[in-house]
Symmetry: C2
Subunit: 391 residues, 2 copies
C-alpha cells in the first residue's frame, strides 16, 4: 500500500519541527514547512507523530553479556535495524530512544555510524515504564531545555522488534487518533495458565478469548502522558502494559489491531539467529552475477540463470562490459578486488565453471555451479570473500 | 546429571514390553526383563513410561506448503529431531506418533530412514485433543489388536519441540507419578490481554501471576485416559490444554515445572531458521582439523589452533598419520574424496595456507585461515564441499 500520514485523506506536507540530537540542519527543515493556508486546515491536517523506543534493558534472558538491543546482526546492531524500520515511515517526526547512562556513548556512536536521522536520546529509567515516561517527558512542551515539540500522537515501540512494517505503524497511529489508544495484538502461541501458590495449576485460560499484546502501540499524547503522570510507583516499577495505564487512569479502552508474525520480540538467543536468517533472506532477494563467457557459450549463462531463478532473483551481467573485468584475471587479483568492494558491503567470490563438450557433464557442472552460488548467497559469510571456487 | 528412570531411587531394568511398528526383535527385549524378585518390589519399581506425540497439524501458520513437523532442518525432518530427543531417554518404552492418513507413508519412511526405535504410529484425529486421544487408546489395555502395553505414566509432547532435554522429561514424569499430572511452564514473553467484543481492550492480565503452559506434560495414564473418555465433543474440538482436562474431569491439580527456554515450539518460519542455527551450533562444537605441515612448520599448526580455540572446540590431527593423506594431493581428488565422505555426513573442504617467511605476513595468513575455517564450520553448507580455499 501507498504510505500516507495517518488521519488525513491526502498526503500533507510535514509541519515545522525542531530537531533532536542527531537531526540535520534545523534551518533546512524549517524551510520545508507547510504554508499558512495548510496550517489553517487544522481539522484535515495529519497529526504530528513521534515515537518512543525504550532501550534500557540489559537482556538478561539472552544469555550473552551484550544487551540484546546492541547485539550485532549482519554487523549492524539490532537497534539500528529497528531505527531503520521506523525511519521508513517518513511521517514519524521524532524518535526518542531511552538508553542507560552507561550505554549513551555506544548509542551515539551507532546513530552516527549508521546515519540515523530524527533520533533524540534520553536517559532510561530503571524499569521499562520509567524509560517510556522519560521519553514522553522529553516530548512534553513544558520541558524548558527540550528542542522537541509535543506530538499529537505518540507511538511506543520496542528496540528489539526490528521487523515492524510501516503498515502496522500507520494502523496503530490512526486508531490512536480515533480511540485515544491502540495496540498490536497476536494470537497466543501457548495456552496461558494461572498457578496457585503451591506451584500447581489453579486454572487455564481459554486461548480463543485472549491475545498476546505486542508492539507497536500508539496513544494520543495527552492521554498517555496524563496516565504516566498519575500512575503510582508500583505501576512504574512492576507494570508492563501501557494500554492498561491508559485504561486505568484515563478510562480509554484501547483499540486492538491484529499484527503480523513479524512483530515478534527478540528475547532469546534463538531469536537473534532467526533475525539474522530473515535479514539474510531479504538481502539475498537481489543478486548480481557477472559472467565471462565467450560468444559461442552464451547459452551456458542462460542455463545457469534458469537453474538459479527458482531460488533467487538474479540479475546477470556480462563480464566483458564491466570496467573491472581486467582486474579479475587471477586469484590474487580476485582477492584484492574482493577486499576493495567489501568496503561497500559487496561480498565478492570467483567461480570457475568447468565447461566440457559433453552436454550431460556440462549440465552437472552447471548444477554444481548453481548450488555453490546459492550456498554463498544464502550464507552471506564475509569470511569467504575473494575465494575462487570451482564447479 | 546421570539419567535414571523416574520414581525409583536406583536404575532399574526395563520390564517386558510388546514392541510397536518399528521396534527391534521382541525376543531380545523380553530376555532383558527384570527377574521375579525385582518385580515383587513394585513400590520401588520405575514406572512404565510411554510418550504420545500428536503430529497431525498442517502448519498453516508457517506459510510453507509442507506441514512444519516434516520441514527439513539440516536435511532431517523436524519430527525426526524430536524423536531423537525422546529416544535419548531410554526409560521411555514406547513413543506413539499420531499422523494423518495422508502423511502415514511419509512418517513410516522417516522412521525407517533415520532408524527410529520404539515408535508406533496411529491415525491422528481432526484436532490436537483427538490425536492425543487416539494415541492414548492405542496404549490402553482394552484395545484387542494393540501390541502395546498400558504404561503407568504417559508423557505428552509436541512433534515441533525438538530441543526437549531428558532432564525435563524426567521431571514431569516424576511429578506426574506423585501428583497425577504435571506440565512444563515458562514465563510469559508478552503481556496477555482480553479483548471485548468490539475489538477493544477489556483488561490486561498481570504478567507476574500467569505463565505460558508448554510441553512436555505427563500424567498417570489412568487419570488422563479417564479424562479423555469423559470429556465432551466441545472439549475435543476446541480445547488446547491437557492439564485442564485432568483438572475438570478428574480434579487433579497438575504440578507445574519450570522449563528451560529450549522448550519453545516451532510455529513460524523464523522458528525453523532458529532451529537450524541451534543445531548447526551444536554440531560445530566439535571439529577435526587435519594438518599437513612439514616438520619445521609444526608451530604453524599450533598457532592456528590457538586462534581457533576461542570460537570452536577443535581437534587437530596430523595429515601424514592418516590413511587418506595421499588421496588429497590435488583439487580433483579433494572433490572426489569430499563426495565420498559426505555420505557419512562429513563435510570436507581443503584449505591452502600461504606460508611466507615474514612473521607478520604469516600471522595475517593464519588469521585469514582461521576466519575461513570458522566461516565454513559455522555455516555447515553442503554446497561448498570439495572446494580448495586459499588463505
Amino acid at each position: 500500500m501507498e504510505p500516507r500520514p495517518p488521519g488525513g485523506p491526502a498526503p500533507a506536507e510535514p509541519g515545522p519541527r525542531v530537531l533532536g540530537l542527531c537531526g540535520a540542519d534545523p534551518t533546512a527543515s524549517a524551510s520545508s514547512s507547510s504554508g499558512v493556508g495548510a496550517e489553517a486546515e487544522a481539522g484535515r491536517r495529519a497529526p504530528a507523530v513521534a515515537a518512543v523506543l525504550p532501550a534500557g534493558g540489559c537482556g538478561e534472558r539472552m544469555g550473552v553479556p551484550t544487551p540484546k538491543q546492541f547485539c550485532p546482526i549482519l554487523e549492524r546492531p539490532l537497534i539500528s535495524h529497528t531505527l531503520q524500520a521506523l525511519e521508513r515511515a517518513f511521517w514519524i517526526k521524532d524518535i526518542i530512544v531511552a538508553v542507560t547512562g552507561e550505554n549513551m556513548e555506544t548509542m551515539k556512536a551507532i546513530i552516527q555510524r549508521y546515519q540515523h536521522k530524527r533520533v533524540s536520546l534520553v536517559e532510561a529509567g530503571v524499569t521499562r515504564h520509567r524509560s517510556i515516561f522519560s521519553g514522553l517527558k522529553a516530548l512534553a512542551e513544558d520541558q524548558p531545555d527540550s528542542k522537541l515539540s509535543k506530538p499529537e500522537v505518540v507511538i511506543i515501540h520496542d528496540a528489539v522488534r526490528p521487523f515492524v512494517e510501516e503498515d502496522i505503524l500507520l494502523k496503530v497511529a490512526t486508531a490512536a487518533k480515533e480511540h485515544g489508544a491502540a495496540g498490536a495484538i497476536r494470537p497466543l502461541v501457548s495456552t496461558v495458565i494461572s498457578p496457585s501458590t503451591d506451584g500447581c495449576l489453579d486454572h487455564s485460560l481459554d486461548r480463543a478469548r485472549h491475545r498476546a499484546s505486542e508492539m507497536p502501540q500508539a496513544f494520543l499524547f495527552d492521554v498517555i502522558y496524563d496516565a504516566y503522570q498519575q500512575c503510582s510507583d508500583y505501576d512504574l516499577d512492576f507494570g508492563t502494559e501501557c494500554l492498561q495505564l491508559a485504561l486505568k487512569y484515563c478510562h480509554i479502552k484501547a483499540k486492538l489491531v491484529e499484527g503480523s508474525p513479524d512483530l515478534w520480540k527478540v528475547t532469546y538467543k534463538r531469536d537473534l539467529y532467526a533475525a539474522e536468517s530473515i535479514i539474510k533472506e531479504r538481502v539475498s532477494q537481489q543478486i548480481c552475477l557477472v559472467m565471462n563467457t565467450k560468444e559461442d557459450e552464451e547459452h551456458v549463462g542462460y542455463r545457469l540463470e534458469e537453474m538459479l531463478k527458482n531460488e533467487l532473483n538474479v540479475h546477470f551481467l556480462d563480464y566483458k562490459l564491466l570496467p573491472f573485468g581486467q582486474k579479475m584475471e587471477n586469484l590474487m587479483q580476485i582477492r584484492e578486488f574482493a577486499k576493495e568492494v567489501k568496503k561497500r558491503n559487496i561480498l565478492l567470490c570467483g567461480l570457475l565453471i568447468y565447461y566440457p563438450q559433453d552436454d550431460q557433464k556440462l549440465q552437472e557442472s552447471l548444477r554444481q555451479g548453481a548450488t555453490i552460488i546459492a550456498a554463498l548467497i544464502k550464507e552471506r559469510n564475509p569470511g569467504l570473500i575473494g575465494q575462487l571456487l570451482v564447479a
